[in-house]
């Protein structure tokens, strides 16, 4: 099914009006996806699904394939096998089904773009020509700035905002086309603990209120523990998915890594510690804290 609704024309109505009250079918279904890049198998038969309103953490250490997986879902990389289904039809220029917040965007301080301009680009930045200022467009942007709590710095240059403020603006930019699925690539990296917690709370609220499926990649799962409905844990190109209780366990993760790892709960945090004998065989995984950077 291809949704042909014009994102600009539809902005006059109430936000996110297509809230489904019933049992949700998966918004994102990843089936047996394998990806090889430059002869290296980055993803190996990865399968999982995310439903509307679910907050899903994509956890793995650096180089585990998190960004690759997100790029496959976006259609920027073709999987060598397997399939991806995003409900609501194909992700195209005209009907963006997927909202995306890329990894570490560098916004220079002298970039002549206000927070509200960047959110506006989320609406029609992919279209050719110059945008015509209109009441509808302005209201849609205002509403989205308000939804992420960015109204008070809407007129500031994006380059002058703090990391947490920039993430809110990026999230508003990603949501303004009313996608069913929101992908965020390491949005908590480089944020202080308080800002990270605020961004996580904001995302959890948006997922619940608007029945959006959120897939957020992180190398540290701890800031996500209070809100995560599902975790997809990537290691050695393979994935384990389920609730945190089902996945973040010594036996499940040991099977995933192919060697013994210990899951330790300490002071309300989760640590995944690799066994000492493993380090001798895999010097590139020298960091003993695989799940906690």
């Amino acid at each position: 099914m291809i949704v042909t609704t014009d994102p600009v024309a539809s902005t006059g109505g109430p936000p996110f009006r297509d809230i489904t009250g019933g049992v949700a079918e998966p918004v994102l279904r990843v089936e047996d996806v394998s990806v090889s890049l430059g002869g290296r198998r980055v993803l190996d038969r990865v399968s999982f699904s995310v439903e509307g309103g679910e907050f899903c953490g994509l956890i793995g250490s650096n180089g585990a394939g998190k960004t690759t997986l997100l790029r496959v879902i976006l259609g920027l990389i073709n999987p060598s096998s397997g399939r991806i289904e995003v409900s609501g039809g194909t992700h195209t220029r005209r009907s963006p089904q997927i909202g995306y917040v890329p990894q570490k965007i560098v916004l220079e301080a002298d970039m002549p773009l206000r927070a509200r301009d960047l959110v506006g680009l989320g609406l029609d930045g992919h279209r050719f020509g110059i945008s015509r200022p209109g009441t509808q467009r302005r209201l849609a942007v205002e509403e989205m700035l308000d939804a992420v709590g960015a109204t008070q710095f809407a007129d500031a240059r994006i380059g002058n905002l703090s990391g947490g403020e920039q993430q809110r603006v990026m999230i508003a930019q990603a949501l303004i086309c009313r996608p069913k699925l929101l992908l965020l690539d390491e949005p908590l990296a480089n944020l202080d603990i308080r800002s990270a917690a605020e961004v996580v709370q904001l995302l959890a609220r948006i997922a619940a209120e608007h029945q959006i499926a959120i897939l957020l990649s992180a190398h540290d799962m701890n800031p996500l523990l209070p809100v995560m409905d599902r975790v997809v844990y990537l290691a050695e190109g393979r994935a384990a998915s389920g609730t945190t209780e089902q996945v973040v366990r010594t036996d499940t993760l040991s099977a995933l890594y192919g060697h013994h790892v210990e899951v330790i709960h300490v002071a309300g945090r989760v640590l995944v510690v690799s066994g000492a004998e493993h380090q001798a065989h895999h010097p590139d995984d020298a960091d003993p804290f695989l799940g906690w950077a």
């Binding site: 195209t92 963006p96 301009d117 930045g125 110059i130």
Partner: protein
């Protein structure tokens, strides 16, 4: 005292009645408007080096045109457009690849420029060709040049207008634009073409070597003063036009002050841009200080999403 200067002493006799001055003012304004519009994107995209490379590459084109008896402008345009195409083909997606691609094309072209300028000086009776190509000579332009300048300007600005939003989006984030299915390579290539045309127009005005000054200078000034892309473009174009006009006036008047041999127009224009650039730095710093003083309590404002 500046106030005591009379109108007539500010504009030396013949400034407005002179045909070369009129052509200079029109050509300068056209080049400045286009350079201002394109230049804002050049600075945002961090492609000042590509702009500078194109202007140097234009040197080869201009000197080749002199050699075969074609117009300098056609030489600039031909070489710059081809060079922009080559830079796009070599690949300019990654900053490092972009640097390398630009450097390789630049080196090859400067070699050609050395050859052509040498041939120009030994074969041509007009010894001024080298200086004209490199540093411009806006007072010696033929009146007919305004028509091709207008055509080039419209082409360049039309390209930017069509590419405006995707260009801005891909300048913010290449990844984001690609994820939104923006044809990022096409957009980048189209922008490079607009840049090649703008640099050619600028090269005619203040010389191939100096043309980056008109491209990057007013844009850099605008980025210090404006918070919106559209406003930045308007400021850059205005500053560019004023710099060209004031520079032309100073150069014209200097012939009287210096007794016959005035300063080169290109020098005067670039000098004005340079002075305004520093002044804009002071203005933007004063503004930032004031903003900090008035919004320093932003941290105290209730955050809309409290941590649970």
């Amino acid at each position: 005292m500046l106030v005591a200067l009379s109108w007539s002493s500010l504009f030396e006799p013949g400034f407005f009645s002179s045909e070369p001055v009129r052509v200079a003012l029109v050509v300068g304004a056209l080049a400045a408007v286009v350079s201002g519009i394109v230049g804002v994107f050049t600075v945002i995209r961090g492609q000042s080096f590509a702009g500078h490379a194109l202007s140097d590459i234009g040197t080869a084109g201009g000197s080749a045109a002199v050699l075969v008896g074609a117009s300098t402008l056609s030489g600039f345009v031909a070489f710059n457009v081809v060079a922009a195409g080559v830079m796009e083909l070599i690949g300019i997606r990654k900053p490092r690849g972009r640097d390398l691609a630009t450097g390789i094309v630049l080196g090859a072209s400067l070699g050609l420029a050395a050859l052509f300028l040498y041939e120009d000086t030994i074969s041509s009776s007009t010894t001024g060709a080298t200086v004209n190509v490199l540093f411009g000579s806006i007072f010696t332009l033929p009146p007919g040049i305004t028509i091709p300048m207008v055509v080039l300007g419209i082409a360049s600005v039309a390209l930017i207008a069509v590419l405006y939003r995707p260009l801005l989006l891909s300048s913010v984030s290449y990844e984001l634009a690609a994820a939104r299915r923006v044809p990022v390579r096409l957009v980048g290539g189209g922008y490079l073409l607009a840049l090649a045309l703008a640099v050619s127009m600028s090269a005619i005005t203040i010389g191939a070597i100096l043309s980056t000054a008109l491209l990057v200078g007013p844009a850099a000034i605008a980025l210090r003063l404006a918070t919106r892309t559209g406003v930045a473009i308007a400021v850059a174009a205005t500053v560019g036009v004023l710099a060209c006009w004031v520079g032309t006036l100073i150069a014209y008047d200097s012939t009287v002050w210096a007794g016959g041999n005035g300063w080169p127009v290109s020098f005067c224009i670039v000098a004005v841009i340079f002075v305004v650039y520093f002044a804009s730095g002071v203005v933007s710093r004063l503004r930032t200080d004031r903003r900090r003083a008035t919004t320093s309590d932003r941290g105290g404002v209730v955050q809309p999403f409290e941590v649970a």
